[in-house]
Amino acid sequence: MSTYTPHTASEIREMLDVVGVKNLESLYQGLEGIFARDMNLPAGKSQQEVARYFEKLAAANNVFGSIFLGAGAYQHYIPPVVKSILSRSEFITAYTPYQAEMSQGILQAIFEFQSMIAELTGMQVSNASLYDGSTALADGILMLSEKKKNKVLLSEGINPRSLEVVRTYLAPLGFEIELIALENGKTSLADLEKKLSDDVFAVGLAQPNFYGVIEDAATIGEAAKAAGVGYIMQVEPFACALLKTPFECGADVAVGEGQPLGMPLSFGGPYLGFIGAREKLTRRMQGRIVGKTHDSEGRDAYVLTLQAREQHIRREKAGSSICSNQALCALTATVYMASAGKEGMKEVARQSLSKAHYLAAQMTAIDGFELKYSSEFFNEFVVVSSAPADLIRNKCTEKNILPGLKLSDHEMLWCATEVNSKEDIDQLISVLKEVRP
């Protein structure tokens, strides 16, 4: 029997007597007709055995010595402070902070998270989190929807997985998605202008985009504004610390994947969707929002607010059904951003930028390796190689290096962050030099 239930046999007996039934099965009296047949589940095990089993499974995964793969999930250094704070069970084992008086710590942390996201994106309002960077994009687009308009124009430079999630979300609601073509890796202004029409309610792109390219986001923003349509940007948090903010680029909504802010790769989750918006959109924003108020004695107090937007009040009229979100991941990002601070965020961004450029320069110095686009990039870039991507992948894997993402037979998307040392990069280059087509 597991150690997770604290009852003794005699206590169970006593309790059954108080309830007035003869045994545990009798609690389900009258339902015998639908009792499950014998379930095909193994017997329980001790914690010791289960720990051993998971250690074996963990060992069956290959944690690469150096990682040059991004494409939506990025390896960054995580300060020990983050892990330490995030191990506090008051945070881990609490529910959504419905009872404000006993949840001020969680509510204040969310308020700080919202504030940090607003600072990072330059936007005026933010929320407690969304599921991930893709669902945040879908939610953000829906925030901009208008009656009688059914089309959104999205850049082909958006992560294909995000585009797929957006398609899933938009299809049943009758919205149409049209893609804006790329030109030298950047969202084409000409193509955008050609596709802007009366039925378009929003334009969206990613900064930097999936191919690492830094978009002329302000120019696209101006075009969207001139056409009178909403503008949404999906942004990478470290790029935000350096580049023109979504607000400066004219965005109405900025969303992104917060995983780089202190969350390990973890095979894809849990990650963190974040959102910032212009103030006029506050009441159209989905999810939980924490607001600052006071108690009867005038003390600062934090509460879940603007709940009249949400499912438990508005039911089918709510814009979203989100209930549990990614609170602990938002706390992770908060503690990470507090630790890194203003300068640390920029330093990680500058190092990622510099290392990606060093990697690109070294790689393209090899015969048969060329950058696909000449446009400026942030921490990722596409390289076309004469050697097949599969061969490169095999050679790298042999050397305990996780290479970039294969985009096609001869194209790969490479990534570097502050974690990749010059020595690691040089080692990768020496491996690539030996790959002969």
Binding site: Y4, T93, E343
Partner: protein, 480 residues
């Protein structure tokens, strides 16, 4: 307490990374932001003290009794946290080649297999991030199923008025209009109302069982028949599976699709509001619409199979909240077949024990045996002395007990919904019942003083009206 922003001092930083060992690359000025993000500048000890202080202003299952109805706040085993922190799981990239992540794929495969068995479904996806996300995914499956059969008129979802708010909201996100049907006083489906509501436009009925009053829908097989005969599907909101797991399966009751909350039933922590995990299971007829990829077992080991052409498409970037799924598998491995069944039985026993002890003092909405939770009403008490469910909740806070869910389900006025879960001991339940009964006496003794709680917390009752009327949601942007 001051925010971290107010503790900021120029020049401080708590991040320690190696100096850049490659030439510094500079971007042209024109594309850079004009002003730095005003993030706090604090030292390492400032960060530690600040967030440790905040943690002391929070209350989790580890701190005490947490009978929050419908939320299944059971103990979150430490073993789960330990195995989820193994570098072999945290250090792997979601786009690594499958043969380098065989351990992770086995976790997903085994969990899916076990959840399918527990729910009586044929196929499971772990992709949805939370319960409501699972509901939403399920409704998209239902939509795809009907459309694929050329059944284009089914645009309505039936929801009982006792349902969780997420049900109608998820259905509406999936493009459906909603028919709300009334429930009986015990929260059970009114069969006549259901018969009147179903028709050619019925896509599905969304139903949790046991229902939100904590009562098992005895008419479930009949309900399933009514919905199926009308051509609709039956959807199981897994929020209340903890009452029946191991004994009764949604699949055997006639449900076609289920979502589960791993962060309720399968012991993964709530984290102050997520990350949760909302796997969806379905019968064979709907499997081809599931979001991909799905883990499959092949002769060469585990692999990720891309989604079928008929898939509704991804609902999340990668494979779901993997580390949450992993914790749930650890829990199932420890409990095993008998443990799962017994956990449910003890959850039901604990709820009935508490209900039996409070019966007669508070009017309950479950006359006989309840399932894992029960609802009492403060309506009469409020009429008599003006003390509300909210007042009871706030006073419990001063007794170091997390209040039950209040004002839900909507069909019970002044509701207090208790869900003690199986991980609470008889001693804790006795203490909780004694405390609640003492509070009842206290309320009658001095109703005015009773309304002033809590008074042992960092704040008293907050002014929520001002919070909503003049929202201040970003630091430093107070308008006044």
């Amino acid at each position: 307490m001051k925010t971290i922003f107010e503790k900021s001092q120029t020049g401080k930083c708590a991040l320690s990374i190696a100096a850049c060992d490659v030439p510094e690359y500079r971007l042209e000025e024109g594309i850079l932001r004009q002003e730095d993000a005003r993030l706090p500048e604090v030292s390492e000890i400032d960060v530690v003290r600040h967030y440790t202080a905040l943690s002391k202003r929070a209350y989790g299952v580890d701190d005490g009794f947490y009978p929050l109805g419908s939320c299944t706040m059971k103990y979150n085993p430490k073993l789960n946290e330990e195995v989820a922190a193994l570098p072999g799981f945290t250090g792997i990239h979601p786009l690594q080649c499958p043969r380098t992540v065989q351990g992770a794929l086995e976790v997903m495969y085994r969990l899916s297999e076990k959840l399918a068995e527990i729910t009586g479904m044929d196929q499971v996806t772990l992709q949805p991030a939370a319960g409501a996300h699972g509901e939403y995914t399920s409704l998209q499956l239902i939509r795809a199923y009907h459309l694929d059969r050329g059944d284009t008129q089914r645009n309505k979802i039936i929801v009982p008025d006792s349902a969780h708010g997420t049900n109608p909201a998820s259905a509406s996100m999936a493009g459906y209009s909603i028919i709300n049907i009334p429930s009986g006083p015990d929260g059970c489906v009114d069969l006549e109302a259901l018969k009147a509501a179903v028709g050619k436009d019925t896509a599905a009925l969304m139903l949790t069982n046991p229902n939100t009053v904590g009562i098992f829908e005895k008419g479930i097989t009949q309900i399933a028949k009514i919905v199926h005969e009308a051509g609709g599907l039956l959807y199981y909101d897994g929020a209340n599976l903890n009452a029946i797991m191991g004994t009764i399966r949604p699949g055997d009751m006639g449900y076609d699709v289920v979502h589960l909350n791993l962060h309720k039933t399968f012991s993964t922590p709530h984290g102050g509001g997520g990350p949760g995990s909302g796997p969806v299971g379905c019968k064979k007829a709907l499997a081809k619409y599931l979001p991909g990829p799905i883990v499959v077992k092949t002769q060469e080991g585990y692999a990720l199979s891309e989604s079928s052409e008929k898939s509704i498409g991804r609902v999340k970037t990668f494979y779901g909240n993997f580390l949450v799924a992993l914790r749930a598998l650890a829990y199932i491995e420890v409990l095993g077949k008998e443990g799962i069944k017994q956990a449910a039985q003890l959850a039901v026993l604990n709820a009935n024990y508490m209900m039996a002890r409070l019966k007669g003092k508070f009017p309950t909405h479950s006359s006989k045996i309840c399932m894992h939770e029960f609802v009492v009403s403060c309506e009469e008490i409020k009429k008599e002395i003006g003390v509300s469910a909210l007042d009871f909740a706030k006073t419990m806070i001063d007794r170091n007990m997390h209040p039950p869910t209040i004002y839900f389900p909507l069909i019970v006025h002044e509701a207090l919904m208790f869900e003690p879960t199986e991980t609470e001991s008889k001693a804790t339940l006795d203490w909780a019942c004694d405390t609640v009964l003492e509070l009842l006496e206290e309320a009658y003794r001095d109703p005015e003083a009773f309304k002033k709680h809590p008074c042992s917390m960092p704040i008293g009752r907050p002014d929520e009206v001002t919070a909503a009327r003049k929202p201040v949601i970003i630091f430093g942007r107070d308008s006044d």
